[in-house]
Symmetry: C2
Subunit: 146 residues, 2 copies
DNA sequence: CTTGAAAGCCCTGAGGT
DNA sequence: ACCTCAGGGCTTTCAAG
């Protein structure tokens, strides 16, 4: 079912590097003809190994100059508090990624905004208003190595 | 030069949702004909707003079941220590993202490995061997909200 | 910006080893 | 599971308004 052979892995790596690489080129690189290549890619999509394709956007070009990693702890860890917090987070467009983690804090969020002023406003008027929020700790991204 | 109008932003949003959406479909959704749509997309690629395209891969399907967010502080903050650390990190395939941050710690890494055993090995034999490493704090991702 | 057109390439499925 | 081949659609470019 979800068994991937070496060729499937090659395809995945190629499409990760360039999601728009066409069938013919993929076929050439893996040494198969277009039809089995096409069918393998379709299969990978169907079984959910390839979840989709996306354009990589330069965030500064769209006015999101500031990236912040924000660690949040909740005051209560009852199911209700967790559910309320998680659905609130899902609704906030400034939050680009959100993970529930086991460690020193409860959640790890990445947030992208135009500048510090907008971030401050986000903290005060969006994040701090979610019920059950405990501690919040912000780390500001200075450079992206990867 | 890097001036984006409302139509460019629509295009960006469409291609973020589906990087393989074809020209004709993008054109239909933004209400232009194919020629200017094609030229706008090429321009966005040329000026670096669209940095590329990629396939989104289900990491569990490729045997990376464990995602860890790892905060690292350096012992010394001299340029040499920073350079050594950063180039070492860039070479580690387990590290999927790496940010130099201003906050409680110096670096924020996301690491993807098969399981806890492999992570422990990574910590001991890869990360801990980089010179100038100070504190390391791991948070294990239990669920991804976004 | 629009329409229209032309060449070429690619996708996709049929049919066969 | 692989291959070749062919029809039809899409991409890409250009010209003219």
């Amino acid at each position: 079912m979800m068994v991937l052979d070496a060729i499937d892995k090659q395809i995945i790596n190629l499409l990760r590097e360039n999601g728009k690489m066409n069938n013919k080129e993929v076929a050439g690189k893996i040494g198969l003809s277009v039809t089995p290549t096409f069918e393998r890619i379709k299969r990978l999509e169907r079984i959910g190994v390839i979840q989709g394709y996306t354009a990589l956007i330069n965030r500064k070009a769209i006015g999101r100059d500031l990236k912040v990693i924000c660690q949040v702890s909740l005051k209560s860890h009852e199911k209700e508090g967790i559910d309320v917090f998680e659905s609130a987070i899902r609704e906030l467009p400034e939050v680009s990624h959100a993970y529930h983690v086991a460690g020193a804090t409860d959640y790890m969020l990445t947030i992208e905004v135009a500048n510090m002023e907008v971030y401050q406003d986000f903290l005060k008027n969006q994040l701090a208003r979610i019920p059950h929020i405990g501690q919040v700790n912000s780390s500001f991204v200075m450079s992206e190595l990867k």
